[in-house]
Amino acid sequence: MIGVISYLVFFATTASILAIAVLGLNLQWGNTGLFNGGVVAFFGAGAYATLILGGAAQAGHLGGYGIFYPLALLGGMVAAGLMAWIVGLLTLRLRHDYLAIATFGVAVAFENLMRNAEWLAGGAKGVRGFERPLRTALGDGFIYNLVFFVVVLLILILTYLFLQRLVVSPFGRLLRAIREDEEAAQSLGKNPARIRLIAFITGSVILGLAGGLYGTFYAFVSPQDVLPTLTFQIWAMLIVGGAGNNRGAIFGAFLIWGAWTASGWALSRFAPVEVQLYTGSVQFILIGSVIVGMLMWRPQGFLPERLVVSHKGKTKRKQHGEY
């Protein structure tokens, strides 16, 4: 029984970290309409920077600064934000598919930089041996994982509340206005380029936060963690959950990650012995089918965006497509 609880805590931690990342993407895509195809670069920047800043000394590359953990995590967020600022200045004038291709290129460049620049982050070997915060006080076992989960969950809730607040604020309305019709927003005296950049950086900082937590949890990050697969996974979570809806983003993260892991477990448990070797491939087919089915029959996601036009004391809901 304790095994099941221990596993569920572990699972929920990974899912919560991914949910934070999906929330970051949701701000960019769901609310502002920025097609970020390089999610993994900002996630990775957060993970690498956190580990380099807060990790123990390692020969051969940067790191070993041993900075107080929350500051290291903050440093990871700053690194992701800085990268988003530079990338954003260069690419945010691009629209939709062009922006997607440009940011995808940034992600591939990031992975290659990490793979090759051994002096920076250990190259293909990755950054390892990160001392997990509070390890001495909490030990290595279940209690540690439980405390870590609670912390991640709190950060997830705070991120969610922050974004909920942001979305209903005038700034949130402005984001949606830019998403739907940039020129109309401009005609009202708004500066879409600046607002897009702010939204892009904010979303990327949240992605960097998720990356930092991820690196902390695994005590390791390598170029294998920043492959395009992760971008695909986070996008799948957002699309299945419901782009534009923060609750949908969180739900999608838990659902897709749950399906991803549960299908592997179920196949290893119940599939006949002779099929065991092929379960990996079967799992890919299952997951792919779910996503295709979702796009065909419920493209708006499980929890679609709810457009709320807020007036004092009176809230009116409109269906998608009516605005």
């Binding site: 095994g3 099941v4 221990s6 596993y7 572990f10 699972f11 990974t14 123990a56 390692q58 020969a59 793979r115 090759n116 051994e118 250990g122 190259g123 293909a124 070997k125 990755g126 390892r128 041996g129 990160f130 290595d140 076992g141 540690y144 994982n145 949890f217 695994y218 005590a219 390791f220 390598s222 170029p223 294998q224 963690d225 492959l227 697969t229 992760l230 991803w260 892991t261 592997g264 477990w265 290893s268 448990r269 119940f270 006949p272 012995v273 065991q276 070797l277 092929y278 379960t279 990996g280 491939s281 799992q283 890919f284």
Partner: protein, 420 residues
């Protein structure tokens, strides 16, 4: 729940049928071990099959530590997140004390740091080559729970340096595959060349799947080296060597074991490979290696030629031998600690098959120690869980490859020590 029972029954039936010599030991209990391997990747599946093959042999010998063994296999998809989750599920839900895997260092490492070490489970990898594991162990962070049967890149690079020294090369250029293995290899061999007094003129990374490697090869040629060292895989190795030869590079080449392939020989052309010498870790000159080959051929109707097969077999076999030595209901740490009893150079030699496992059981039951003679050699771990192995120097021939020189384990160890 009935599905579980049915699948258990069918596994039990299969095990019962395969039990030949060990029928007298038949038990009703089952111990699970975990395996996290990239079965969704083409080269990963045979590695998993070979591990299962070792488990079957042990079950035919009556199981380990008084119980039949069930290997629960999970796919990593070569994705660290997926691999770590699978490992955690095996440890928490299936209660395994021994975990085989993973293949990629980038997957094995987070499993080690976030699952097996915190949970006190022994982890044994067939194929992770990164020197980062040695570093982690030296810092005392693996708690002795980590082993791998992939002879460290150290053996390969030392023997490569020995070849260069024996041939009297004064200068050499290095081309290496741009992954964790290649980067480690390039760093180690550069140090070893320096130690034997061979000058390294250039060390150039080769990325996968480029249309050509002219820029990289020109870079390597610029120092006019007397010889070329290649730590590449066959596909990009072929492309790079063709480019190298067409630009007038020397035919004096030293090859890592990854290029010991017919594909490479045929695509480059044997006439250009006359002065090429390869290095490899060798099978021991013992009957057990032949026994493994024979048993493998009987089971799979093919030679065990493929990356990591012999390593995977030895990893599974050693893990099970250590479980046997540690006894029933042992913890992961107990099993890890028992490893020295089954890889004791002074112990009774046992072969890598069912009969060998039966023999090992008797010796271990009497309180003795055994020396496992595996498919990759007389496996022996150092304090960091790294394995050393005998080495061989080979060259290409009409029929494939032929052995030039066999270097026993003691000589390999002595040579490595002389480099430091």
């Amino acid at each position: 729940m009935s599905i579980i029972r049915v699948s258990r029954a069918s596994i039990g039936l299969a095990l019962g049928l395969s039990a030949v010599s060990g029928a007298a030991y038949a038990q009703d209990c089952t111990t699970k071990i975990g395996a996290v391997l990239p079965t969704s990747v083409d080269w990963g599946r045979p590695i998993a099959e070979t591990a299962q093959f070792a488990v079957d042999q042990v079950n035919a010998a009556g199981g380990a530590a008084g119980c039949q063994i069930e290997m629960v296999l999970r796919d990593t998809q070569v994705d660290p997140k997926v691999g770590v989750d699978a490992a955690k599920a095996l440890v928490d839900l299936e209660g395994v004390k021994v975990l085989l895997g993973a293949v990629s260092s980038g997957v094995s490492m987070p499993i080690l740091t976030s699952v097996t070490v915190p949970s006190g489970v022994m982890q044994m990898s067939c194929c992770s080559s990164s020197t980062a594991f040695t570093g982690l162990s030296e810092e005392g962070k693996t708690n002795g729970l980590w082993y791998r049967t992939f002879a460290t890149t150290g053996v390969q690079s030392a023997v490569g340096a020995k070849v260069a020294a024996d041939k009297g090369y004064k200068s050499i250029a290095i081309l290496y595959k741009n992954d964790d293995w290649g980067q480690d290899m390039a760093r180690l061999i550069a140090a070893d060349f320096a130690a034997v007094g061979v000058e390294v003129t250039a060390s150039v990374a080769i990325n996968d799947a480029q249309p050509n490697y002219r820029a990289e090869v020109t870079d390597a040629l610029s120092g006019q080296p007397e010889a070329l060292y290649l730590a590449l895989y066959p596909a990009e190795g072929t492309a790079a060597v063709r480019e190298w030869l067409s630009l007038g590079g020397t035919q004096n080449m030293i090859l890592a074991n990854s290029l010991k392939s017919d594909e490479f020989r045929d695509n480059v052309g044997l006439q250009y490979l006359g002065s090429a010498l390869g290095t490899d870790t060798a099978s021991p000159r013992s009957e057990s290696a032949d026994a493994f080959r024979a048993a493998y051929q009987e089971r799979f109707e093919a030679e065990p030629n493929g990356p990591g097969l012999a390593n995977s077999y030895d990893a599974a076999m050693l893990a099970l031998l250590a479980m046997e030595a540690a006894g029933k209901d042992a913890s992961g740490a107990d099993v890890a600690a028992a490893m020295s009893r089954v890889t004791d150079p002074a112990g009774t030699p046992v072969s890598a098959d069912t009969a060998g496992f039966v023999a090992a059981k008797e010796v271990l039951a009497g309180g003795g120690t055994v020396m496992f003679q595996g498919a990759t050699g007389d496996v022996r771990f150092d304090e960091n869980g790294d394995v050393s192995a005998p080495a061989v120097i080979w060259s290409f021939s009409e029929s494939g490859t032929e052995e030039i020189e066999y270097i026993p384990l003691s000589d390999v160890d002595a040579f490595i020590a002389s480099l430091k």
